[in-house]
């Protein structure tokens, strides 16, 4: 056998275990999911149910609006914080940085619990507002709670990406802009944001995709909130409506995959960890 030929065989053999497991446990099941999605009473049109059925459509719209709002808020908050931490050195900076990295490893359920402790029935904000105004402020079990939870797991991810990108920004450009008389706002708009654009788009898309698919946080806060992952879960477990749950999860998967594909084409290698 020729050496080159032998090497090819060896490479195939080395790749085979990973490919086999991937094909057997992901590709095949996904193909099954796809066909189950079209096997219900509605047939293939089940895939349109998410648009035509008002219940699922409202669930889709509220999930998209929530995820887009979270993404927008996260980018602004993380942009300010990330640029600040990257540009300044002061006492306690590394402590602040450490607190930002810590929540990265929290599963969605723990994030949900954090929100309950903050704005839940026995939460801190509730006690403080009760003491101040004799009225408890409880946000945890609604869209507002979900918003806070999604912010909680998005902020650390986006801040770290922005800081990494800001490190590569040329500070001299901002100096030049300033010396030419640009206002701070103009420097941000015309120098900083264009420089950070790839990082902003890619981390924003990851944040959006993670929020769209986030299940643990919503599950902990309330199983009645009308977001797509919860809708899919209750169709599957409460109503045993397998075909519709399958169709909805394929649609959801397509949305998150497209958002991440956009992120990857903008900024190279980034993999999102779903919360």
């Amino acid at each position: 056998m020729k050496p080159a030929h032998r090497e090819s065989l060896r490479h195939i053999a080395l790749l085979l275990p990973a490919l086999t497991i991937f094909a057997a446990f992901w590709l095949l099941p996904m193909a099954r999911l796809l066909s189950v999605g079209a096997s219900g009473e509605m047939g293939i049109s089940a895939y349109w149910a998410v648009v035509t059925d008002p219940r699922y459509f409202s669930s889709l719209v509220s999930t998209i609006v929530l995820s887009a709002t979270v993404t927008f808020a996260t980018i602004i908050i993380a942009g300010i914080t990330g640029m600040f931490l990257q540009r300044h050195r002061f006492f306690g900076r590394s402590f602040l940085l450490a607190t930002l990295t810590f929540p990265l490893a929290f599963p969605g359920v723990v994030v949900g619990f954090m929100v309950i402790l903050l704005v839940g029935r026995q939460g801190l904000v509730g006690s403080v507002t009760e003491w101040l105004f004799d009225e408890k402020l409880v946000l945890a079990y609604s869209m507002a709670g979900l918003f806070l939870g999604y912010l909680y797991f998005s902020i650390p991810r986006v801040i770290l990406t922005i800081m990494a990108a800001a490190e590569k920004l040329d500070g001299a450009l901002e100096e030049v802009a300033r010396s030419l008389g640009a206002s701070p706002w103009q420097v941000i708009r015309d120098v900083m944001i264009p420089g950070l654009k790839p990082a902003l788009i890619s981390s924003g898309a990851i944040c959006f995709a993670t929020s769209m698919g986030a299940f643990g946080t919503a599950f902990t806060l309330a199983t009645k909130i009308n977001v797509l992952p919860i809708t899919i879960y209750s169709e599957f477990t409460n109503y045993a409506n397998f075909s519709l749950a399958a169709a909805l999860s394929i649609v959801l998967g397509l949305i998150t995959w497209m958002a991440l594909a956009l992120a990857r084409s903008m900024a190279g290698s980034t993999v999102a960890a779903a919360a």
Binding site: H11, L14, L15, A18, I21, F22, F25, W26, P29, M30, R32, L33, I80, T81, F84, L85, L96, T99, L100, T101, F102, P103, A105, P107, G108, V109, V110, G112, F113, M114, V115, L117, L118, Q122, L124, L151, Y152, I155, P184, A209, M212, G213, A214, F215, G216, F219, T220, P229, I232, F236, F242, S249, G253, T256, W257, S269, V271, A272, A273, A274
Partner: protein, 264 residues
């Protein structure tokens, strides 16, 4: 150096953001060791909730550690050889394979879990065993292992190293274990830490795949949040923090420039 007022405004904002992230963590630690959280610290400190968590949920802790280690073993065994091939052959097909293998991370865990149940749920022995969860975790963590090892392999000149060893008469096995693996230690270590951390915290896939007898730590957490008093949920969360902190510190330490080579 005199700081501008803008510095202090931004500092206050940053501290507020950090407080948003840290205050609930502190609250959960406090609640977990307080006799009655509703009454407050004055009701007294106690370890009784932690003890109760241990008696109720210690199985979930061992199962999570076991599954994380098994996931690590599988991802090492299949991920490193795959990364090696992807590094050595960079063409259209290998790029395709790379893209494909990231899909279980790009698609919500709920979809992956539903797909697994619909296809393999009928095999009862498999469905109720812990290996069903292992499959989900391997799918979800494999891309992180492959990427982390691949990043290091792409940075070194793998082919030259291998050719040099081969010209001295080393067989493929000798080259792989004595030249290639030692050269990508950093990537393997970083990938391993990532895999274990992700597996320990995985919920979205696991929640659908678990049975009452195969509860992992995050599944147990969800169970305690839903059905136990706040103090028990908090004490259980403390246990989770204790398990996850060493992993985070190790990852942080590895990614600091100067201490270790940059990776992925």
């Amino acid at each position: 150096m005199k700081r501008s007022p803008r510095f202090y405004v931004q500092l206050a904002f940053t501290v507020a953001v950090c407080a948003f992230l840290v205050v609930p963590v502190v609250l959960s630690i406090m609640a977990g060791v307080t006799e009655n959280f509703f009454v407050g610290i004055k009701s007294g400190l106690t370890f009784r909730w932690v003890v109760e968590v241990w008696t109720l949920y210690n199985k979930t802790i061992f199962l999570s550690i076991g599954i994380a280690l098994a996931t690590l073993a599988v991802t090492l065994l299949i991920g490193i050889p795959a990364a090696y091939v992807l590094a050595r052959r960079q063409n259209r097909y290998t790029r395709w394979i790379e893209e494909l293998m990231v899909l279980p991370v790009a698609v919500p865990g709920l979809a992956t879990a539903l797909a697994l149940i619909l296809l393999y749920g009928q095999f009862r022995g498999f469905r109720i065993s812990w290996t069903f969860i292992l499959v989900g975790h391997v799918l979800f963590t494999l891309p992180f292992m492959v990427r982390s090892v691949l990043a290091v392999m792409s940075a070194i000149d793998l082919k030259t190293l291998e050719d040099a060893a081969a010209s001295l008469g080393a067989t493929f096995a000798q080259r792989f274990f004595h030249v290639i693996l030692p050269n990508c230690r950093q990537g393997i270590l970083a990938g391993a830490l990532m895999v274990v951390t992700l597996s320990m915290g995985e919920f979205n896939i696991t929640w659908m795949l678990h049975t009452p007898l195969t509860m992992t730590l995050p599944v147990g957490l969800a169970d305690s949040y839903a059905s136990m008093r706040l103090e028990i949920g908090s004490a259980y969360t403390i246990v989770f923090f204790i398990m996850i902190i060493p992993l985070l510190v190790a990852m942080q330490w590895m990614s600091e420039p100067g201490k270790a080579k940059k990776y992925g």
